[in-house]
Amino acid sequence: MTLWGAAITGSVADKETREAIAGCSVYLEGTEFGTSAASNGYYRLDRVPRGSYTLVFSMIGYKEINRRVALENEASVLYENARLERVPIQMPAVEVSSRRIEFEQEVTASAFRIDKEALKYTPAMVERDLFRTLMTLPGVTFVSDFTSALYVRGGSPDQNLVLLDNMVLYNPFHFGGFLSTFMIDAVDNVEFLTGGFPVRYGNRLSAVLDVESVDPEPLGGYLSTSLLATEGAVWGRLGKFGGMLTARRTYFDKVIPIFMDFEFPYYFYDIHGVLSWRATSKTRLEATFFNTKDKLDLAEESIPIGVGWGNQLVTLRLIQELGDPWIAKAWVGWSRYTADFSFSDLMDAENGIDDFSARTMFIRTAEVSTVELGAQASYLKFIYKVDAEPFASYDIDGRSEYGAAFFSWKWKPDPLFLLQTGVRFSVYHAFYPDTLRDSLTGETIGIDSLEKTWFEPEVRVSAKYFVTADDAINLSVGNYYQNLAMVLPEGGRIPTNFWIPLYARYEPQHALQFILGYEHLFSDGSRVRVEPYYKHYTYLLAFNDMLDIADATRNIFSAGAGRAYGADFSIEKASGNLTGWISYSLAFSRFISDTLEFYTNFDRRHNLNVLGTYDLGKNWRVNAQFTFASGMPYAGTLGRYRMWYWNPIYQDWYYHWMIIEADRNSLRFPAYHRLDVGASKAWEFKWGTLTVRADIINLYNHKNVMLYYYDLSNEPPVRRSVSMIPFFPSVGVEVRF
């Protein structure tokens, strides 16, 4: 029953595939009543006065439906389902506001759906990038310009679940941090959950980035080039079959040797392919292929260094409509992550994970409730091997299995209240044969099999109360487990990641999240959010800075507890010539154990981002982004003392200076701030579109400090700094057909 008027409700789906059309605009023409369909296609318009209206269903790429409806009285509920037909023409790029649906259907305010158009028009360091845009959202912070790793609400990057078509990606970054491995045109439906995520996601403590590959459209493509890389894509659809292939590669290593006697030591490439088969009107099958590689090879230098890593992912997705209101989805896939690091002849490190996973989910969508049932099974083989003879050699090599089942229920009994609750039960089993070695000779003297099974119940509850039609408060509570960790030295500035599924030396990481939020939605889709949160880590692992490499398998991590708390604030302007957002995050993050307590190295107290894009007309756009972040903690040098010793050769007293390190993360860098600006102009031709972009990064050339070091050749030692990206102009060209 509605309280303030009649209601219109129903679902929106693709006429051919029957798949829900998330984000489809549904509105009453000539009124302010409108919404967008939820991810399951369901929509609802509440508080509509009685009368006759034209109900419009509108979505890019689909033929619009206009339907006359009449509401007899203010207690009536009208059911209107729509099946939209795809149209093989390029619809004009209009802003499709999904704000209303997020507001009315999402329980937690910590969810962000990333608009691909917004991605294309944010300032970028030589290339647009998904992760660079995510870093501007409330609750997200960063440690340097040279890494795109996301630190979400006081959690380290390994606490984020990054999914591509429901398979885990372990290192979606390239060297230097300018780019992630995602190419914008190859992805769709990017959902970013900074907290309070539902039970269909598991095995992480902080956040979820859920990326779906794009559904191939009719024949098209593009080619773009920038200072860094060249990227191209083709896609097409023939009957029931569709396909897309996107590829990107840096070219310096190939081009520079042609003109100069210099071997450029680095390259990366990304390949992302999708195949789609709409087998029947109720069955759809999709396959994704994803391959990335980074290679830095300084073999010719005086100190040879080699770093490489890559992701390979293959996944198969089945979507089966079982009959209204049930839909089944299933995924099976393989994700491999490999990384290696070599330093001269002194050290070789190797990390690898092979993740074989299968997932399934059944969704039942009805007017007032949505039920999700699902299960997951994963088998992981992993290796983390370091060979630094004679100082250390260790080999963490084992396997783990992870199984989970979940049940989720979303219930909206009336327009004022929305509840989402769920339970997840996981079983984690790890096996790791620990090789025991003689401490003096290094010879193998036995194998100590470490095998353990953990049972991990998780309960999550979120509720939302609509104070008015445009104001809501929400509450989210839940517990979260995580069964793997990243070897991430303080500072997080290593170019690659080393992942280790937890084994019996440690316990699974565990956190409790409490989120309280307020949200206001404006009529044009703009919104304001305030969201305080508290995250209590009951068991947390931090890389052990005092690692005894002779016994690394036992002490590679420090176990403790932690807490992260703060509040996120954001205001978004979603319509008009000027669009953008302001986000501010107040954050605290502490690690606590029996022996030490410190602010994490990403404990930035204040993070402010202001982004704006202005449409000047005639295909001209200008944009700007300003970022301010208060100083980040670091472990630095505090003092020094003379260490005296007796020199038996010279028979005299000597000394050398010993450095006194400050307590862990007890010093802070200066505040970070940077202004980036950009402009783009597009020319439309019969064959397609030509777009030229120009960006200036760090317009006023502020020297943001990345690290300090002391030049000990001076007396007294002189502190010097290494700065992040200076003033940097870049241009790019894109041809789209």
């Binding site: 107040l586 040098t637 038996p648 010279y650 010993m658 007890s666 010093l667 007294p716």
Partner: protein, 263 residues
């Protein structure tokens, strides 16, 4: 609701204004009291110093106006500030922070160090001293053949020293001190053992050995406190046995002979 929003923003602002101060450097005492042990009395030195801010210019060597005393059993040694040596010319100054006194220590007494700093803090420590060491073989001026060593591995032997964690063995070209600087650093690296003998010469064959020369063979008995201080037990670290600050209180005993080494 808007008032609530405004209130929460104000609260946010004040919450964020919680100041987190950088850790500030605070000086700590740094005392090095390594007693040299022999059968006879030796002029002993204790350096009294402090730690410094990394960016400070350090133009002093240590702290004057400290009170330094070592005692144990019937003995008490009060160390004098040597900034102006009593028996030196008035124009000659020692570096600041050097305190000296004649002393002879035995290996059965627990010795106590007490240093009262200029700002009245007191640093204390205690340690047993090593037994004086004497090299038994080879004898002074002996000729030693490296190639013979496999058949007589324990070429270098000495007496067992109490209160000793490690023995260090040096083989130093017997040249003028100024020439030592031009010789490979390999010679300044000691071998070590916990035994009273050592298979020494064979491993030195990896060094750019200069045959048919005289070398000084020096063996040092090191007390546990000095071993910890030098970081032998803690990789990359240094452990102090003082009640506060940096430094150590311990002892070494050393003996040396001159040998002629042939292939």
């Amino acid at each position: 609701m808007r008032r609530l929003l405004l209130l929460s923003l104000v609260l946010l602002f004040f919450a964020g204004c919680e100041s987190v101060e950088d850790q500030v450097f605070e000086p700590e005492p740094n005392i090095f009291a390594l007693m040299r042990i022999d059968d006879t009395s030796i002029y002993q030195w204790v350096t009294v110093d402090q730690s410094y801010d990394i960016q400070d210019t350090v133009n002093i060597w240590g702290l004057r106006d400290a009170y330094v005393k070592v005692w144990g059993g019937e003995d008490t040694f009060t160390f004098e500030d040597s900034f102006y040596m009593a028996d030196s010319a008035k124009w000659f100054k020692q570096p600041e922070g050097y305190y000296g006194e004649w002393g002879n220590f035995n290996d059965t007494t627990l010795y106590h160090l007490e240093v009262i700093l200029p700002w009245d803090d007191t640093v204390t420590a205690e340690a047993y001293m090593p037994t004086p060491i004497r090299i038994h073989t080879p004898a002074d001026s002996d000729t030693v053949s490296i190639s013979a060593e496999p058949y007589d591995p324990h070429v270098v032997t000495w007496n067992l020293c109490k209160n000793t964690a490690l023995y260090l063995i040096y083989c130093i070209p017997d040249v003028d001190t100024s020439e030592l600087e031009n010789i490979s650093p390999i010679f300044s690296m000691p071998s070590f053992t916990m035994d009273t003998s050592y298979t020494f010469f064979l491993e030195r064959m990896i060094a750019p050995w200069i045959y048919d020369k005289y070398y000084v063979l020096r063996v040092i008995a090191v007390s546990p406190e000095y071993v910890d201080y030098m970081g032998a037990e803690v990789p990359g670290g240094s452990v102090s046995n003082l009640s506060s600050g940096y430094g150590m209180f311990g002892g070494i005993a050393e003996d040396s002979i001159r040998v002629f080494i042939v292939p």
